[in-house]
Symmetry: C2
Subunit: 376 residues, 2 copies
């Protein structure tokens, strides 16, 4: 048990898996060497049967929960509300792994990493990853840790899409899955906003096709694209109650504009434009129905248990997207359930409404754990 800090804990530093022979992307390119950054939380038991993989979404890192230091100001990991000691994914019982996926700028070899052949950042030469590549890096880390079978794979949004991709690619590797605010493909409304976001970045003259790393100033295009992203995460109700048509203090500036500028600038100093366009494109390109012909085909070898959670005000992944996945899984005779929750927080509910998601996640994991232990 690590040191507790308020409602969270002191987490392990990130680990690295270095692939000297490189990582092979599904679209054909290989980058070598290739570093995969991951974090682990809790303790792996002796028979390695208590491991849960959590897949992160577009903007977070492998820093899932806890704090790196005891510093008061440091924010804990991105799913600290759900993952921790005594929390929904309880680290007193489970060993949790989170892998920074290829394309993301938080440690794993990314477009901003130096290409050893040119001694310059990969930039425009970095591959366009697919969700399969995200899953493959996670599999490599699990192989490295000697974990053959996971108790569960969990994630929200793009993280949930990776979870569903696991069912299609490696259906034998997990007892169960939990996917929130997600689906087997992004519906057209989200695709359209993502396309616009990428055009905003790519239209920034300073983007230079992705080779902008000599320029120290954050890209305005990334700031504005992030504002579009924020809009897709917020529900109408959240916009109305948080901002409405209110002006900032005594100025004529709308509060929503002030919020956009703050969030956009913060994000553009932390994230990377090449990462943003690539990760969003990977999300848009995933379409299990298109890739496998039908959702039934995609999930034909999946025998584990499934918990999908959707939120009624999430218009990026409306509950119908979860319903489609559940229908396909049930037609194959697997134990698949869909919990449609009511929240005013839109797509971001899975990062906010821990009071709603903790009980079903806790009970589902306990149930999976019990069922599995009864097996010979």
């Amino acid at each position: 048990m690590p040191q507790l800090i308020g409602n969270t804990f002191l987490s392990n530093p990130p680990s690295q898996l270095v692939l000297e022979n490189g990582f092979h992307f599904v679209h054909g390119q290989t980058l070598a060497p290739f570093t995969i950054v991951y974090e682990t939380f809790g303790e792996l038991n002796a028979d390695k049967s208590n491991a849960i993989l959590v897949c992160h979404a577009l903007s977070p890192s492998a820093h899932l929960a806890g704090k790196y230091t005891t510093d008061d100001d440091e924010k804990p990991g991105w799913w600290d509300g759900l993952v921790g000691y005594g929390k929904g994914i309880d680290l007193e019982k489970y060993f949790v792994v989170c892998v920074n996926f290829p394309g993301s700028p938080f440690g794993t070899t990314s477009p901003a990493s130096v290409d050893p052949r040119s001694s310059r950042p990969y930039g425009s030469h970095y591959p366009w990853p697919a969700v399969e590549d995200m899953v493959h890096t996670q599999k490599l880390v699990l192989d490295h840790l000697g974990i053959d079978r996971l108790l569960a794979i969990a994630g929200g949004s793009l993280g949930g899409m990776q979870v569903l991709m696991w069912c299609a690619c490696y259906p034998q590797r997990a007892e169960s899955i939990i996917a929130m605010a997600s689906g087997a493909a992004v519906p057209v409304e989200g695709v359209a906003w993502h396309i616009i976001s990428r055009k905003i970045i790519e239209s920034d003259l300073r983007f230079r096709g992705g080779d902008y790393y000599d320029d120290p100033v954050p890209l305005r295009g990334l700031e504005v694209a992030r504002m579009v992203g924020h809009m897709t995460y917020l529900s109408t109700h959240a916009l109305q109650t948080k901002f409405g048509r209110r002006r900032r203090e005594t100025t004529r500036q709308f509060e929503i504009e002030s919020y956009f500028e703050h969030q956009g600038k913060k994000f553009a100093t932390l994230y990377d434009a090449n990462s943003y366009v690539r990760v969003q494109a990977a999300m848009d390109e995933m379409d299990l129905e298109e890739q496998y012909g039908t959702l039934q085909s995609a999930f034909r070898n999946w025998r584990g248990r499934t918990l999908l959670i959707s939120f009624d005000t999430d218009w990026l992944f409306p509950p119908e997207e979860s319903e489609n996945v559940i229908a396909a899984m049930r037609s194959l005779g697997t134990d698949a359930r869909h919990l449609r929750l009511f929240s005013n927080n839109g797509h971001d509910s899975f990062l906010i409404d821990y009071d709603l998601i903790t009980p079903p996640v806790r009970e589902f994991l306990q149930s999976v754990d019990r069922t599995r232990k009864r097996q010979p």
Copy 2:
């Protein structure tokens, strides 16, 4: 009766009202001389009692209906489905005026017009118009035509906002109003998208604060901003049925992207970036409740009849916005009705669903006409 061409007619060429002493904007600037372009349709009767003012929205011009030539390829005016001989606003009975408002690039002195003091386009020096300025130019044209009292004022979207502004500014000048897909202020969701659109344009390094007229290439920022605009006009249902996740022909390009590029490029050659940011800002700044304290105060002198039409899938101006206006008007004892129509076409319904809007508009105008004629 003019020459009929299929389902439309040969319209008059645009007219001009030149204000040699200039036009005074409500925020303080005066531009002199100032040209106001307008078009008229149908015949004004002897006692000038059959005039209807139509207010146009963000992107159209004063060319409301009809064609300028008998050319097959020419598209008729923007509300040709509603305004014409035998149509909802019937030119056999009514004389219709449409004025190109200040800020718009279609004839009236605009940011692209040459400033006589510098012999260069106004560009960044052009004022930021308010909706009141749009109404004032319309009033000047009506004064010029000797029309003291209109049978009706009609419009949709920003056009509908001008209609409501008329009730607040010049409540004695009309018997009735018709406002569609509109409200007394843009709700925050629309404001947020408009703010993002303006940031996209203003972030284009070639925009140069608005002084870009020496550069002959259309601004990419305007193209991408227009894509955001299209998203706000479309309903989720329209996106799903028109585009879905379909790819263009044998390519991997999403059909929605191909549509965006086509619409963006077309718009950027026709419209002007300085106009776009100014007209959208005017729309966002109008807020009758903020300006008058309450909606009741805004409409306290309005005695005419009101028809508001809203569309259930319009999320830019949801039906609640019309309901708020109606509630205020009814509390003042005026005859105000609200027709909430069901259409899958979102905000654009007022430009598409002529089968739905024609009967109530026709009947409302006939009723107003009858009531008025019975007066001494």
